[in-house]
Symmetry: C2
Subunit: 421 residues, 2 copies
Amino acid sequence: MSTRPAVRGAVVTPIAFPDPPLLNAAGVHQPWALRSIIELRLGGELVGLGESYGDEPHLALLHRTAAALVGLDPFDLADLRRRVAAALGAGFDVADRHGLTGGSSPAKTMARVLAPFEVACLDLQGKLTDRPVCDLLGGRYRDRVPFSAYLFYKWAGHPGAEPDEWGEALDPAGIVAQAQRMVRQYGFGSIKLKGGVFPPEEEIAAIRALREAFPAHPLRLDPNAVWTVPTSVKVAEETEGLLEYLEDPTEGIPGMAEVAARAPMPLATNMCVIQFAELPEAMARRAVGVVLADHHYWGGLRACAELAAVCRIWDVGLSMHSNSHLGISLAAMVHLAAATPNLSYAVDTHTPWQCGVDVLRTPLRFADGSIEVPAGPGLGVELDRAALARMSADYLRCGIRERDDTGYLRQVRPDFERPLW
Amino acid sequence: MSTRPAVRGAVVTPIAFPDPPLLNAAGVHQPWALRSIIELRLGGELVGLGESYGDEPHLALLHRTAAALVGLDPFDLADLRRRVAAALGAGFDVADRHGLTGGSSPAKTMARVLAPFEVACLDLQGKLTDRPVCDLLGGRYRDRVPFSAYLFYKWAGHPGAEPDEWGEALDPAGIVAQAQRMVRQYGFGSIKLKGGVFPPEEEIAAIRALREAFPAHPLRLDPNAVWTVPTSVKVAEETEGLLEYLEDPTEGIPGMAEVAARAPMPLATNMCVIQFAELPEAMARRAVGVVLADHHYWGGLRACAELAAVCRIWDVGLSMHSNSHLGISLAAMVHLAAATPNLSYAVDTHTPWQCGVDVLRTPLRFADGSIEVPAGPGLGVELDRAALARMSADYLRCGIRERDDTGYLRQVRPDFERPLW
């Protein structure tokens, strides 16, 4: 066999991009969202791309790992795993301050650090073999991946700033207007409302208003686990026939199992089943009907393919979760979804909220709510170096080093506590 | 992207090779073992290899499928799956007459037909990209794969024929002598005895004799589910401390679960968990502690990687099952094992019973009971066309068209029935 390719260098660039004031159970999005762009260089023009979180403690682990990847064969994901584990060493837990993805553990931290480098390796594998990433994941089950409109309650603009182009949405009418605009602009065929912001009855009213405005669109509601079990059951009963699934109504597998047993619709989660260790209990208790995969914290695309296999075997639905992200993550999600036979629901994305800002030279485009699998080798996307430089400068000057939705909301409402209805 | 490679033709060659009279619960191995060799041709010299069962009803499905593969892109395993399903159509159940792998179902038949073509596609993918198959499965977790000595009670030779080179083994002394020869010749570090042939006490005596002769070798016993639950529990108690696992003592997940709850050692299976649909119940009941994967009936190497992921997540051990096979299957097993992080036990193989007969130009060699991952691209093995032609002629003249251990034993013992102790 010819000489194996080897990574010559890995670069992690923290970036920031403008983010609207989207409300959720933990608080409100800050004016800048943080991400990190990973480049694995093989020499010459060959670069593999990855995208991950941009919070400072996570960045430190990405940098430490990047330094340990020189000489890595991008096909040897087993070696990648060994190098990441060695670079992280012991005692490397990093918790999210935004608190929307549960507590921390070494396995979760390992998965979150591994993920963007695995994606970059797969991008390189594709470029070296002239194949799209979905082929390397096992073949193409669909040419287009459907996404869902992701609605948020939001302020008109950040405090002290002009209203943004999306404007205010703090009641059913505002949510319907937001949905109409988003569906018109992107063609989404299903709609999700991020809830957990207002008392349940107000959010049910928003769902009813959406149903009236969109008689045929499947609807979802996600209160980020701020309801008790009785509240969750009550909302589930009141929204019977309205929701294709109810996402994370309450906290933890036991609570979700209790609600699931009485809810007329499936429960989805990206909060109580977010690592492999949680699958056995969740499946045994039938706590969830849909798992929302996210390669950024499950450990990469192949890890998500394993999760998909479990969902298929246990006859549990599967879709994908999203945080604020840019085009490299979007491309990775599209390839993964294309290679996943049992993708059962349209995928979440925050893309419309980024208002066209991206690190790609040619951002992926939505048509009829779907994105076509990029044709090029690897992820099929190209980094816009000018945009990267600009966003890197924005990171340096924005002053935010860790996502903190709660702290930001408390600047406006000092007494804010995460609700429990 | 450049033009996609496309399969120009698929050839299925049934072959036969000499097999010694190995006894098991279903009967005894016939003088000829049947297999099929699959070649997927891309044009030029590029051929992808696979190996499967050689029974006539299965062969008919392989031939029907082969005819539907012209134009297949060997990277598009999703398309392969679609083509196989379309070629098989409805109502294509094929049961094993040897009855050692449970009943039939469309999903099992699909998996068995898909498997050798998937392996051949992966071999082609490796050849097209100059990478070994283990890299395409996710990287190399080990450079050498450990195998286990696979002992059988056996006659000295087939009825009417000269004794074979292994000679008779019908009691503890014969089994120990067989083990000594096999361990000396191949260096195996663990030992499995195929049981279910004699009453349990005699097989326990053989295990005790093996323990005395091999104080440090992990031992296994596999009676192919011919014991009742009480017998299984009794044997398990009597062999406490002697066995690393007890394989398929009794039939079915409920029975296995009952034994597992009382047995001091883990129970392994390649009989009650042989398709994905059986995993949820098996895991819920904790029926098995070790799953013996077999890519020939789980649906290929990627399917086995999914099975391995389930075993890892549910904290169940994993190793591999073997039927009589040749070097293409062995190479596929080695690549799969190399790419499986959680391979917990040495792998089964019938290779020593084939006495050097193979379809490979350079058969894989055991050193210290292990086989090194072949270095070449793809599976890293090359077909010996002269040997293939010889074995194909042997198939045509041997007269056997379906494995039938029971029928063959009844030629000697007309009253033979599968035992139940």
